[in-house]
């Protein structure tokens, strides 16, 4: 295997706004990259360029030494040895589930016992052994997604592209499938690129997380790093369910702020000197008898706890967890035990 390198990748569908804009990214050999970002930010487009379905308007893609695509031309998808789970599944309606899954093997000339074994194994790993002879049209949504999953893992691809592969699965299956990915990744050493909108999934699986917005790459880092040190408002608000507050500038370089510092800054009022953005995670918002005044805006039951949306008296919004049922409109006091300057 080898490093997958995206170099200044651009894609313009001719709609005026480029769908992908100047994305440069290195995914190390056998890396597991999660691609995160709001709907329509260009994730699928990046995947499609890596697979070779779209030719970049600019930039190049390399796999190790091999140029997959640049200004002078492109390797066709069928010779890239990649696998993909399509957001739309892309199952072949005229084939049975088993034939769908086994097709990449068939193409590679695998047959007989080995073929049956591999297909059986792949179907088992997605819990669809009993559905081998069904047609995709007779499956439920989640089952279709799992067929697509099995198909992508049945061979030994160099790169696996996963476009929201678990979006339609329930929690249990999701966890099992995550496990499957992890095993597959460890066993095959393939480079994986994983598009998801679920930050928890990304954190749980990936060795690196890339965050995109409006076609641009905002930050690439390891999960813990990106959680602890997000760059910019968008990354901050996307990773972890934090709220972003605007407070008067602190004047120093320290990016981790504690309650003392925060209290000082926030009560000092809006004296000149500009503002800074800080990220406050819900677990760092402590409800108690002292601190800032806030009003509960919504309190949603989440089972384990309540997700609260608080509005500070200066109009800014905070998110917090609460153990007790709370009513809309209740007045509370909060302490921000920790914050991160973006």
């Amino acid at each position: 295997m080898a490093k997958l390198i995206l170099h200044k990748l651009c894609k313009d569908y001719g709609t005026g706004k480029p769908a992908v804009n100047d994305v440069s990214l290195k995914i190390r050999d056998g890396g597991f990259l999660a691609l995160l970002g709001p709907s329509g930010c260009g994730k699928t487009t990046v995947l499609r360029m890596i697979a070779g379905f779209e030719t970049p308007s600019d930039g190049s893609i390399l796999l190790g030494e091999r140029v997959l695509s640049d200004a002078s031309g492109a390797v066709p998808p069928e010779r890239r040895n990649m696998a993909m789970v399509f957001q739309s599944y892309a199952l072949w309606p005229h084939m049975t589930v088993a034939a769908n899954v086994g097709y990449p093997l068939k193409v590679r000339g695998v047959s007989g016992e080995r073929y049956r074994e591999k297909v059986g194994e792949a179907l088992r790993s997605v819990r669809l052994e009993q559905y081998a002879e069904r047609r995709p049209a007779d499956l439920s949504g989640g089952q279709r997604q799992r067929v697509a999953l099995a198909r992508s893992l049945v061979t030994d691809p160099d790169v696996v592209l996963l476009d929201e592969p678990l979006a339609n699965l329930d929690r249990h299956l999701r966890q099992e499938m995550e496990e499957t990915f992890r095993e597959f990744h460890a066993r095959s050493g393939a480079t994986m690129v994983y598009v998801t909108h679920d930050q928890a999934e990304a954190m749980a699986l990936a060795t690196d997380i890339a965050v995109m917005s409006e076609g641009r790459l905002l930050q690439v880092a390891a999960p813990a790093e990106i959680y602890a040190r997000p760059e910019g408002r968008l990354v901050g608000s996307l990773i972890g369910q934090g709220a972003v507050l605007s407070i008067p500038a602190s004047g120093d370089d320290n990016r981790e702020l504690d309650w003392q510092r925060l209290a000082a800054l926030m009560t000092q009022g809006r004296a000149g000197g500009g503002t800074i953005d800080i990220l406050v995670r819900p677990q760092d918002v402590l409800l108690g008898s002292e601190g800032l005044n806030a009003t509960i805006e919504t309190a949603l039951y989440e089972g384990e706890r309540y997700a609260l949306r608080l509005r500070l008296d200066d109009g800014q919004v905070l998110r917090a967890h609460g153990r007790q049922p709370a009513m809309r409109g209740d007045r509370v006091k909060v302490v921000l035990s920790k914050a991160w300057r973006l």
């Binding site: 069928e78 990649m82 309606p93 193409v107 995709p136 049209a137």
Partner: protein, 564 residues
């Protein structure tokens, strides 16, 4: 509690009875009447004697072999064009597709004669190359293979249009998934593209087969010299010696043709059975194959085929229209536009024929679109068994030689209609009715195959939006099957436009069709006039197609077959 309607099925309750009634009126009634006319002769065994005649069975066998081989040739040629022009990055797609529509417009006899000429002793082409065989050498086209080859040439546009509609419904991501699975273009074609567009391909193949079964022009010219009779030529021979047993004989021969068509249909149903073609998700495959170095050779091949199929016969037609007599070599000295002058300015029948044929062809094309969509809907959504019987009934008239259909229609309509007391015999309406019957299958087939490929969720979403049957038919279903609907309209229009054998018996003063006009000119030895009129018909069709091109922007995507 209010009573519930009996079914929540997507068909309105009147639809199936309506379709059954239409099929009964257009297809069953005339044929039943023909059988009735022949029944006395069948009963007294005269017609059955026919079956003891080995010549009949030879003819049946010839019909079968020529049609099957012809279908294969048509699938090969039409399929090649459809695949190349829809899926590959060929240059000049527009022109190639545009021209490929036209062979249907050249009367089969003309195609046959020009091929005979092209390969025979007087071939200008072969002469120029010094390859012309000596006077009187045996003509290789006078054979089963020759007939089949020309069937293939004549019917390849049917396969082209129908397969093309199927290809346009391919899911894009499904093809991409196959590419990424590592499938070579060939494997992809074999495993994904063709199986998924099978409904369209099979519909085209079935039309090609059935057209071959019913063709008269080609075996008349290529078969009879080599004593190869097919059932249609035999039917004509029966009419030549009209006797008391003729109706019985015709009924029996038609029965054999019908059996052949129905068996063909059965084979087709079997081939489609047990599979799912409903495309899940968005469809619309864009150019999928980059040909690279293969492009130029392939383009050359396409143009070469087009030359043989269209350009050569057309050039033969044009030159025949420019010389004063048959067999006179065309040169600057012999060429004259006298024939065009005569046809355009002196023959008043020309204008009538143009008006009649355009009216008939467009009325049939659009009428059958409406009937075809309704019928197709009922057939694909309704019960399998009844649907199969109805499809068979629809198929038969197209397979029968035109003369049989027209005789059947005369039998039904020569007398005034009961209750109404008016007679449509002798008016243009009887030709229209016969066209509806005869070309029903052509109009229906592409529509049915497109409906088979449709993602049912798209209609369901419309239903839940509150759209009743007509509403969703017009707003959702017809636009979604637009390529097939376009294929259906264009095919029927083209075929009806220079149709001959049905209208031959049904026309009367003032209701001549173009086919009749050309035939009559030709039959009475005015070859130059006949050729000139044929050229004008082709020119008219090209003009209409260009008009369509102008409107293309306002039509649903894919309707106009030469646009991609």
């Amino acid at each position: 509690m209010p009573r519930l309607p009996a079914n929540a099925n997507s068909q309105p309750r009147w639809l199936f009875p309506f379709v059954t009634a239409v099929v009964a009126g257009l297809c069953v009634l005339p044929l039943a009447r023909l059988v009735m006319a022949g029944i006395s002769s069948i009963l007294n065994g005269k017609a059955l004697e026919l079956l003891a005649d080995p010549a009949i069975w030879t003819a049946a066998w010839n019909t079968l072999t020529t049609s099957v081989l012809g279908m294969i040739a048509a699938v090969a040629i039409g399929g090649f064009f459809a695949l190349a022009l829809t899926l590959a990055d060929i240059r000049g797609k527009w022109l190639l597709s545009f021209l490929f529509m036209l062979p249907t417009m050249i009367p089969p006899q003309v195609t046959a004669l020009s091929w005979v000429g092209m390969t025979g002793p007087s071939s200008p082409l072969l002469k120029a190359l010094g390859l012309a065989p000596p006077l009187g050498s045996p003509q290789p086209l006078y054979s089963i293979a020759g007939i089949a080859l020309l069937y293939g040439v004549q019917h390849s546009p049917l396969v082209f249009l129908s397969l093309r509609a199927g290809l346009l419904a391919l899911p894009r991501d499904g093809i991409e998934a196959a590419k990424l699975a590592g499938a070579s273009p060939w494997q992809m074609l074999k495993d994904i593209i063709l199986p998924l567009s099978l409904p369209g391909l099979i519909a085209g193949a079935a039309m090609a087969f059935v057209s071959g079964v019913g063709n008269f022009g080609i075996p008349a010219i290529l078969g009879i010299p080599a004593s190869i009779y097919t059932l249609p030529t035999l039917v004509y021979a029966r009419f030549a010696s009209f006797g008391t047993s003729t109706f019985g004989d015709i009924a029996v021969l038609s029965g054999m043709i019908a059996v052949m068509a129905v068996v063909g249909l059965q084979v087709q149903e079997q081939a489609l059975k047990g599979r799912d073609y409903r495309v899940i998700g968005l469809s619309g495959a864009s150019a999928t194959f980059r040909l690279g170095g293969m492009r130029l050779p392939l383009e050359l091949l396409l143009w070469l085929l087009l030359f043989a199929i269209l350009i050569a016969p057309f050039v033969a037609l044009v030159s025949a229209s420019l010389v004063p007599a048959y067999g006179v070599a065309l040169s600057l000295k012999t060429a004259s536009f006298a024939a065009y002058e005569e046809i355009l300015f002196r023959q008043k029948v020309t204008r009538t024929a143009f008006a009649n044929s355009i009216f008939l062809a467009s009325a049939t094309a659009f009428g059958l679109l409406v009937i075809g969509v309704l019928t197709g809907y009922a057939l694909t959504r309704g019960g399998r068994r009844l649907a199969a019987a109805l499809s068979a009934m629809i198929e038969i008239p197209y397979a029968l030689p035109g003369i049989v259909i027209s005789v059947a229609f005369i039998l039904v309509f020569a007398a005034p209609l009961p209750l109404l007391g008016v007679t449509i015999y002798g008016t243009i309406w009887i030709i229209l009715a016969a066209y509806f019957s005869s070309f029903f299958a052509v109009g229906l087939k592409p529509v049915v195959s497109a409906l088979r490929q449709l993602d049912p969720a798209l209609e369901e979403a419309a239903r839940l939006s509150g759209a009743g049957f007509w509403r969703r038919l017009i707003d959702i279903i017809v636009p979604l099957i637009a390529p097939a609907a376009g294929a259906s309209v264009i095919l029927v229009f083209l075929i009806a436009c220079n149709e001959l054998t049905v209208s031959a018996l049904l026309w009367s003063a003032g209701t001549q069709t173009l086919g009749v006009a050309i035939y009559n000119l030709d039959d009475s030895g005015s070859y130059d006039l006949a050729s000139a009129l044929s050229v004008l018909v082709v020119a008219m069709v090209v003009l209409l197609m260009l008009l369509l091109e102008l409107m293309a922007a306002r039509l649903p995507k894919g309707v106009v077959p030469w646009r991609n």
